[in-house]
């Protein structure tokens, strides 16, 4: 993964978030305030347009800037969480102009760790982590199969993880008020997490012919 990949990946994610803005709003309205679709589309479009206009090659610096751009544009709870994740990735990627798949996995793991530390949460609590965590695990487990297969597996794991949130009881944020009543409902944040890995997967599947380790 190089800066040019990052640019493309974020433009894929941004497009998916924009297309699903209303869907994310609806999901968040189930027991939140409904701003999820707005903040996700705003945050990713801001980052995508920042990336279009930068020449930064250092992946660490790139992700650090993405993190603060994202936080500026979307400082809602989930926006801040994503921005924290990017910050975690930035620290690991600092100084690198290229990262191979295991380095990317490393960075993602650090990002998730940072989210868990700062947001005081872990998988199983009906949040975005329930998509991100299994996705990164799958990416790691499949990394030897090449980037296309690995990101596909990650995306599928994110989707399954998100679907799984239906069975979970919320612990964080406004959703936690509703306790058992929200069993059966999909967590909007986890769907956003799925979309992130959908963007990554689609970028690699549409642009990489061979399954090289990029």
């Amino acid at each position: 993964m190089r800066a040019c990949d990052v640019k493309e990946i974020f433009s894929y994610i941004s497009e998916i978030m924009a297309n699903n803005k209303d869907y994310l709003i609806e999901l968040d309205q189930q027991n939140g305030d409904g701003d999820l679709g707005i903040s996700m589309s705003a945050g990713f479009s801001e980052v995508a347009s920042y990336l279009k206009n930068t020449d930064e090659k250092d992946l660490g610096k790139l992700f650090m800037s993405c993190s603060s751009k994202f936080n500026e544009a979307a400082s809602s709870t989930l926006g801040t969480i994503i921005s924290l994740g990017m910050m975690g990735m930035a620290r690991t990627l600092k100084g690198k102009e290229e990262a191979n798949i295991s380095e990317v996995v490393d960075a993602l793991e650090q990002g998730i760790q940072r989210i868990m530390d700062k947001a005081k949460s872990k998988p199983g609590e009906k949040t975005i982590l329930d998509a991100l965590y299994p996705a990164v695990e799958a990416l790691k487990a499949n990394s030897s199969r090449g980037v296309k297969e690995a990101t596909k597996a990650a995306y599928e794991a994110a989707a399954a993880g998100s679907e799984n949130t239906r069975n979970m009881k919320p612990v964080h944020g406004r959703a936690a008020y509703y306790g058992d009543k929200s069993i059966g409902l999909l967590d909007g944040g986890s769907v956003a997490g799925k979309f992130i890995f959908e963007g990554i997967y689609r970028y690699y599947s549409e642009n990489y012919k061979d399954d090289s380790d990029k």
Binding site: D33, G34, S75, K118
Partner: protein, 339 residues
């Protein structure tokens, strides 16, 4: 969507421009940034700074309390969304007079994480900060996990009292301790009769049947924790007060301040009818009311409904509540008891 607005995406900026056009002598933007409001009132050298932040759509919360004897600054985000940590950090820096800054805000995920980041950033520059999170909303979590409760209208009492403490040149630790005591002594509970519409979303977050009300709705227009058949004003007063007193028992002889806060769409007449019953129920228990606050202090745009806040007073809190405060949106000048 029936709102008196222009483009939904300009909602927050235009509100802020209106504020500066109307009250530009009393408040100002930080370097022209429409999301950071600072007090323009004269302030004593070396006074501890007090700042807050949070989403838009709750006027007068939060920025309406920036002024003299209350807050020094406020960073705001989009409707119901936290401001960024960068803006918070800029604001904290601007409000430090060398004695440190208290970050006093409602306990919400986004705000917590962003303020934490902001504090890390400014501590880098050697600015001391303390954090007190307001958690007065009884409905938002059971007593066992009271730490998860959110901040609602009760934060106005915390702003007022901490502001007065800072005005008296108390130290950062003292101001934080008084703010924390205020928070510990404050409980709120609300009901909604109708939902509200986030301008950029364009439709209500939830709908309430014509014959129902939601107990414990969220200040962002989130559904209540309990749907009940429509009740009389007296029943509403009783339901809210009971839930508060269950959580924070009071004794005969205690003195409290009572806030009956309209959420935006409810007429003042109805707030007074609810206040009447609350006052009578408290009086029956031998509890007296000092400086009641009846009006709109923390809203959710056009949401109909109200919240009840009880602040248990001691001599110190009472004195600080009484000391003068003036902002474009709040003053206690006409609330101080006669004689």
């Amino acid at each position: 969507m029936k709102k008196i607005i222009n483009k939904p995406e300009n909602f927050v900026d235009e509100v802020m421009e209106g504020i500066i056009l109307a009250y530009g002598d009393k408040v100002k933007f930080l370097n022209g940034d429409k999301r950071i409001l600072l007090s323009n009132y004269p302030a004593k050298e070396g006074k501890v700074g007090i700042v807050t932040g949070g989403g838009s759509g709750h006027l007068p919360v939060f920025l309406g309390y920036v002024g003299q004897g209350m807050l020094d600054g406020c960073a705001i985000g989009n409707v119901f969304a936290s401001p960024s940590s960068q803006k918070m950090a800029d604001m904290i820096r601007a409000c430090d007079r060398g004695s440190g800054v208290l970050c006093l805000y409602g306990n919400y995920g986004g705000d917590n994480m962003n303020f934490d980041m902001a504090c890390e950033m400014v501590e880098f520059d050697g600015i001391e900060t303390r954090t007190v999170r307001v958690k007065d909303d009884v409905a938002s979590s059971p007593k066992e996990t009271a730490d998860k409760r959110r901040g609602v209208a009760g934060m106005v009492y915390a702003f007022k009292i901490a502001g007065a403490a800072a005005e008296r040149m108390m130290t950062l630790d003292e101001v934080a301790a008084i703010a924390q005591k205020t928070v510990d002594n404050t409980r709120s509970m609300g009901v909604a009769l109708s939902a509200c519409i986030v301008p950029e979303v364009g439709k209500p977050t939830f709908s309430i049947n014509e014959d129902e009300i939601e107990i414990g709705m969220g200040i962002h227009g989130e559904k209540g924790i309990e749907v009940r058949k429509m009740m009389t004003a007296d029943e509403i007063a009783q339901t809210l007060l009971d839930r508060i007193l269950e959580d924070m028992p009071l004794n005969s002889g205690d003195e409290v301040s009572v806030m009956v806060n309209g959420l935006g769409g409810t007429p003042l007449e109805e707030l007074l009818i609810v206040y009447r019953k609350v006052h009578m129920m408290l009086a029956e228990k031998g509890i007296s009311v000092y400086m009641p606050h009846i009006g709109e202090f923390a809203t959710s745009m056009e949401m109909a409904g109200l919240s009840l806040t009880i602040l248990k007073l001691d001599e110190q809190l009472k004195e600080l509540l009484t000391s003068p405060a003036n902002t474009p949106f709040y003053t206690n000048a006409n609330k101080i008891p006669l004689k």
